[in-house]
Symmetry: C2
């Protein structure tokens, strides 16, 4: 692999350029001629499919079903929930013509689907017997980005899932919000190996139209937080606007309660930023589309048959145990070129098989996370591969968790708070009086926002970092993506 094909900057020196090179050269995504839009290439899509497969399974286990709703939403629907409309219209793409006809009403390309889905729900919900409705949609949504875009982090179209549920009571909606928050946490921590802080958003930062929003926030190597997913209790706001009512067991009519929740391909950005190194991607085995690549190595044609036979046997053995294998028999590339390519693409394990390995009844394993090189006897192959995949998964999470923990400062003094943000970033645990005025002032002064308010109030309680008011609560501030 030539210098231009590999990553040409160090992660520690220029994170932004490093990130772009990893995404583009690692063939996860590409720029599109549609400014602000990106193409998700097969390797990136395979990662998204692994995420989808896991999450879809968890959602089905917990009673959710998938469905599909129209891409276009009449402007009048968006307007039904006033705050929601005000929040989204600045970034909506509007359809005004069909063929050669001018439309009498503009249609929005969905920036999120609450309004078009609730229009259906208002017809589907009649009685308590119809509740809960637990529907999820895998689709793409569009929000016109006028500032600079970055692959997976900020693009005018993104793939995500949006869950939209209807419940009889506030308690049922609360439970749903927390169930999803926990499933998301497990996806992030156990699959992507990305540790998160969970909590509530402030009134200022919550989803437009929600009663409250819960969030999961990860910390990136440059000291900035990234929002990984959100789960909202929408109260009865939308149910009232869209007339979603049910006849209760009490024979009375009630407005329902709704919840919505989503994660997007942004998850991939966080995973890349957190685990990658100067050679490129480092994928957690649980989410890697290829968990081990097998590279046969021989320079004499007389060795070809025995080496490729053994490579095939190893592939078969591991595939049977549901390990995701790629057998790299491509003849147009040298083994060295392949090593570089698979390191750039973050494959957790490389298995090398040469004539000496055949002779000695062994294989050679190289770990992507720490470059460790091991010789493994044939009969130990499956056990060792499994063990190292599990160990890489655990090590990546452990390292990321230590980094997250180390990134958290505590501050009780505004000058100190500003200095920390300036010098190292990370999360700052500080107290806040719950006023939007202080929140806005802090953002104006420092660029930091309240990332999360812990689900269970944390002690000790200081006075507000900004105004000094004593009756305040501990929250986590950070700058963010």
């Amino acid at each position: 692999m030539s210098k231009e094909i590999g990553i040409t900057v160090k992660k520690a020196e220029d994170l932004s350029e490093w990130y772009t090179q990893v995404i583009i050269k690692g063939e996860l995504a590409d720029y599109s001629s549609m400014k602000g839009f990106m193409v998700l290439r097969p390797y990136g899509f395979a990662i998204w499919e692994r995420i989808r497969q896991y999450l879809d399974g968890r959602l089905k286990e917990t009673g959710h079903s998938n469905a599909y709703f129209p891409l276009l939403i009449p402007e009048s629907f968006l307007k039904k929930e006033t705050e929601h409309f005000a929040g989204f219209t600045p970034e909506v793409f509007w359809v005004t013509q069909a063929g050669t006809r001018e439309l009498s009403e503009r249609f929005a390309i969905r920036p999120t689907s609450e309004t078009i889905i609730y229009d259906s729900y208002s017809r589907w919900v009649r009685s308590w017997r119809d509740l809960p409705i637990l529907i999820n949609v895998w689709n793409s949504v569009l929000r016109a980005e006028i500032t600079a875009t970055r692959p997976f982090i900020r693009t005018s179209e993104f793939l995500w899932q949006e869950g939209h549920t209807v419940h009889a009571t506030k308690e049922d909606a609360d439970k749903e919000v927390m169930l999803i928050l926990e499933i998301y946490r497990q996806l992030m921590e156990e699959q992507l190996a990305v540790p998160v802080l969970t909590g509530y958003k402030s009134e200022r930062e919550k989803f437009v139209g929600a009663l409250y929003t819960t969030t999961l926030e990860a910390m990136m190597p440059d000291g900035k937080a990234i929002q990984m997913g959100t789960s909202h209790n929408l109260g009865q706001n939308f149910a009232i606007s869209f007339d979603i009512k049910y006849l209760g067991k009490d024979e009375e009519t009630h407005h329902a309660w709704t919840a919505s929740w989503g994660v997007s391909w942004r998850l991939i950005a966080a995973m890349v930023l957190l685990h990658g190194d100067d050679k490129g991607l480092v994928l957690p085995p649980a989410i890697a589309p290829i968990q081990a690549v097998i590279v046969p190595i021989y320079y004499k044609e007389t060795d070809a048959a025995s080496v490729t036979d053994k490579a095939r046997q190893v592939a078969e053995l591991l595939t049977k145990d549901e390990i995701q294998i790629y057998l790299d028999f491509r003849e147009q590339y040298t083994p060295g070129w392949k090593f570089n390519e698979w390191e750039l693409k973050g494959v957790p394990l490389r298995i090398e098989i040469g004539p000496r390995d055949v002779e000695r009844h062994q294989i050679t394993i190289v770990r992507r996370d720490n470059s460790q090189r091991l010789t493994v006897n044939d009969e130990m192959t499956l056990g060792e591969v499994r063990k190292h995949l599990e160990d890489i998964q655990a090590k990546l999470f452990g390292r990321a968790k230590a980094t997250l923990d180390a990134s958290i400062s505590e501050s009780n003094q505004y000058e100190d708070f500003k200095r920390i943000l300036e010098e190292r970033g990370g999360f700052i645990r500080a107290c806040w009086c719950s006023s939007t005025e202080c929140e806005d002032a802090i953002k104006a002064d420092t660029g930091a926002t309240i990332r999360t308010i812990p689900l269970t109030a944390e002690t000790p309680r200081f006075s507000c970092i900004k105004c000094g008011k004593p009756d305040s609560k501990a929250v986590y501030f950070a700058k963010s993506y």
Copy 2:
């Protein structure tokens, strides 16, 4: 189930109304307030997921990968291939505004993605080493329907997959087109139990911009054909317009060859129309999201425990063998109500378990396709369930195949040809001189079009059904959806 919940018309008496009721009351889909758009409800989506799972597996086995490309396409891209542009613009939804900004160029919501995908391919293809590119996309596309819309058959947005491949030579592109045609045929005949005629489209009917189009056509109970899927060799037309070139092993630069192919949720329409009966849907077991529903039946509380225990055991036994089971423990509905609901929804087998079944170590099985009712000893449960699922699949296909074969007439005389179309429809095998004039005249006279031209020319050869020219070939005419 009350009369209004069940299907209120007979299939043979009013197919169109019957179809709408099955789709809506069977909860496969619902109308949307967005005129011309439909909502795919969870039960319909689960059917689509079974189709997707099968086809996606077959595509991956044969070397294809999934990816995602932007929803919006600049007007200038669509215009690059002149015929393509002329073919699609009358039905394109145009985005002209983003937020409050007027856009300087209109964006089309993809009616199909050739142009936006080829823009990327022109950057990805450099050398023969980069070929073939075998990419598939699962997405939705929009084509504004101004005439009457029908769920799954004609809607302004539909879910589909579109495959877009790039090859070094015409032969490679031909092979791809035929490989996909065969995978589609297997999906339709072996999974959906819908027999098809395969063949080429005429110049008039081919995909706009293609070298040639191959198609799969099924026959519906009203004597009209339905196009189930198409696979196109696009020649070098698009490669030239989009500058997709590669450096060959011969060190020369060549334009590539491209192919594209797709099937949509229309597959569901054909399956419903073909197999359904007066009680509602009849789903082929291979594609049914629920293959067997288990309904516990008891009227005395003292029987509850033994009946539900047995129901759970049967569910566990069958689930272990990967049979898709729904255990219907809902307490708000009577067994009779449940029977009607699952018949309406087309579940292939119903398993009834009552106190007498517990006592006698047996279960009762009822087949959806022929209402046959059987008593099965406990130790035979798995074998009998498997056997009947396979038998239903085979019987549905066999019956449909016989109907298709019986629908094919042969005609050598234009008055006779018109009379057949008038009286019974179906496919008519007739000879045609290959002129667009005769094709257009036949369509104007009868409403019938050439549905397929057999892949291998068929004998005997008559003279053209319209003009009488002797040098003509056998083709299949029909009216169509």
